[in-house]
Amino acid sequence: MSGSPAAAWALTVGPSHLLMEPGHTARLSVTDSGSKPLTVTGSVIRVGETASQKCVPAAGTVTGVTVSPAHLTLAPGVTGWVTVTVAKGAPAQDAAAVFTASAGQGAGTARVSGAVGSQVVVGHVPGCHIPAPVAAPVHGGAGIGGDAGLAGIAAVGLVVVVAAGTWLRKHLRWQA
């Protein structure tokens, strides 16, 4: 995110955490911020606490949270968009949508992959550190209606302005 030259391998996710409710969907961006193409795999993992750390990958399954598409092929500088869906009836849980890509080929004792994850908090405020709800691009089941409602309010406002202007022009003309 700085002006320095891009590393060979770099992966960005945004937003980096989401607060969601059952029945909601949200959109995440996954960007190849490095200088070589990446094959990215998306998955959902459980997030929990250990004795010393919060919000770390944990054992256990995640129920009713999915990412789609699960695979992206990204060229350097390109962003892919992934939809996170929380099913209706999904339980309250702490999860993370994680996007993983190999750091490269080669022989070695340790072969390294890197992953970036957006914490997905479903239905409650977790033990993890989230100070306040954020403006995540969450669209609920009523999202279309909500947006249409905003458009309607704007339209009504415009109608009022046009009507007032027209009435004033007519009225002033009559007075002249």
Partner: protein, 175 residues
Amino acid sequence: MKIYTRVGLTGAVAALALAGAAAPAVAGGPTGTGNVAVNSTVQPALYLTLSGLTPTITLNGQAGTTATAPGAENFSIATNDTGFTLTITPSLAGLQDAAGDVIPNSDLSIQETTGVSGSPTVGFNGAEGLTVLGQTGLPGTGFTDTLNENWALAIPASAAPDTYSEQFTYTAIGS
């Protein structure tokens, strides 16, 4: 009366125009299957970037000695969120060779020489993830951690001479 009729038509046209303008934003989300990739010019409000990972780490040594790889990894985590964790997760419980021989992950250790207070040396426990860094209370305006790691493997005296390897995943999660 004519005035209000005319205004009503104008308003209806305006409402339709606004509804039409709003519709693409609502329907624009990618909900299909398969790859969806577009050129991006807008940064997300909150981001987390992991960068600079070295693809492979090589530890060479004789049985009964400790193989080291100073500066094996040098990478960065950047975010404008208020926290994140970094966990290194092995794919197996140990390094394996082609014959199925295993050097347990507990013989493998990592020292964060920069980026973590105290430069601790930590070891793996089976296939469990190793959380090497947890940041909370960050300013939320942009923050970068740069970590430099030494890797070391205490090769058991009983280990058969061969090439052992394993996959490790560095996972950074925003919070």
